[in-house]
Amino acid sequence: MSRRTLVFVACSPHPRSGVSTTARLLTDFYLSRLTEVEGFDTDPHAPRYHEWFPDRTRVIDTADIRGQISLFDRLLVDDGVPKIVDVWQRAYDRFFRTVKEIGFVEEAHLRGVEPILLFHVDPTDSSLASAQSLSAAWRDVSMVVVQNEGAAPLGAYAHETLAHYPSTRKFVVGPLDGAVAKALDEPDLSLSRLLVSPPPEMSIVIRAALKAWIAPIFTQFRSFELRQELDGAKFLK
């Protein structure tokens, strides 16, 4: 079985589509399984993702070439450590322009690194156009559409909307009640620790609601991971 280093790129061209939440969930998913993980937050002004994992993430300014070196040179290291990039919506265009200009995807494949786009959908037409544009630019890159039902609800016709996106793989992040969402925003709250030893001061109701919210998301991540391993299994080809 060929094991490849996964690089998740959580992105959306629009704000408030749940990109940082996905980056956080995925990081906590790996931590909950005692797996090393490394993150990169491309928002140098309000690095929310970095605040949740100050020891495991770095803030990167993609407008600066030194920042690009810190990011892309690290992403290309095939060390088996999954890496997660939270692409700030204002860095979106520059990020993918750089990816194209330096030939990142081609080099990643040569080095045994597999980039995976986590494209966060929203109801706008430009969201769909952006996803199609990415897919056309990098046909050999896996794309997963992420539907965050709380941050960017697609409404009653979600299935039809998603059907137009250039990917059959999707993650669904369910909506949260206001009080639970507020608890989730606490910078000290670790979702991976919550599953094994929830903070004693936390309301039992909120604790249960968060666990119920996290469980199906982690199941999707695990399912995706297994699928990737199956796809990489040489004896099945």
């Binding site: 040179d73 200009e101 330096i102």
Partner: protein, 277 residues
């Protein structure tokens, strides 16, 4: 038809004192690859990126399997020589013996393509020397190919060079090179000035050299290796290096864009003397 500059009496007497230059006459219908070609990269203004363009040109020709020898006129120590020592000789174009070293061997050398990186302020004297030695006549007769890349700066003085150079290059493939390495503009924002310099002179075309970011450029400088060696992540000595992939990626893309420009002007066809170039 513009007149080539007439030589004053002092120049004429200087010419008479020079030893006669023996040029081997190339067969008129020699196979295309056999025709010697001289490529001059120059400008009278300094700091416009002449050597950078000569370096990228040597990389391009090597990538296309064109054997090339190079001459660096920045005596005594040349920048081009620093990056391409194996194929570069440092010469003084004002010296007769060095002129012979380049011109007399054009046809006899096994390597038929010669690139000369002309130092700042040396372009017009170099062209004058080419005229004095009869090289331009050989070009007119089709015995040798002559390509001039005239690298422009963004000053009026630099643009004035175009008129000064034009009379020497009637039979050459004369290209104006707009080098954007330093975020330069070429008066595109001033149509009157732009027209005055760029639309009245007859050239084979223009080449645009895109900007390479400073950090990438600096790292190649520090590496002291050809651009293609840096991109291949090798040291100047050919050992594996540890250059940033991001910087190598930027240099590779930049090289590819310049290669597209050379392809666009059919540079390889011109060098080979193929019709229709």
């Amino acid at each position: 038809m513009a007149q080539r500059p007439t030589k004053d009496s002092k120049q004429s007497s200087a010419r008479e004192e020079r030893p006669p230059i023996v040029r081997e006459k190339a067969p008129p219908l020699a196979p295309p690859r056999g025709r010697p070609t001289l490529i001059l990269v120059g400008a009278d203004k300094g700091g416009v990126g002449k050597t950078t363009i000569a370096r990228v040109l040597l990389d391009y020709l090597a990538a296309n399997n064109v054997l090339t020898r190079a001459f660096d006129t920045e005596t005594p120590r040349g920048t081009l020589y620093r990056f391409h020592p194996d194929q570069t000789s440092v010469v003084d174009l004002t010296s007769t013996s060095d002129q012979m070293k380049i011109i007399d061997t054009l046809a006899t050398a096994e390597i038929k393509v010669s690139v000369v990186d002309v130092r700042a302020g040396g372009l017009e004297p170099a062209l004058q020397a080419l005229q004095d030695t009869g090289f331009l006549e050989a070009v007119a007769e089709g015995e040798v190919g002559f390509i001039l890349f005239h690298v422009l700066g963004s000053s009026i003085a630099s643009l004035d060079e175009i008129a000064e150079v034009a009379p020497y290059v009637e039979d050459a493939d004369y290209f104006l090179v707009k080098n954007h390495v330093n975020d330069t503009t070429f008066f595109e924002w001033d149509p009157v000035t732009h027209r005055k310099y760029f639309e009245k002179v007859e050239t084979a075309g223009e080449i645009t050299i895109p900007k390479l970011n400073e950090l990438s450029y600096e790292q190649v400088e520090i590496a002291g290796a050809p651009f293609s060696t840096f991109v291949a992540n090798r040291t100047a000595e050919g050992e594996p290096a540890d250059h940033s992939f991001v910087l190598r990626g930027y240099v590779r893309t930049w090289q590819n864009r310049i290669a597209d420009e050379f392809d666009r002007i059919h540079l390889l066809d011109r060098i080979a003397g193929r019709e229709g170039a």
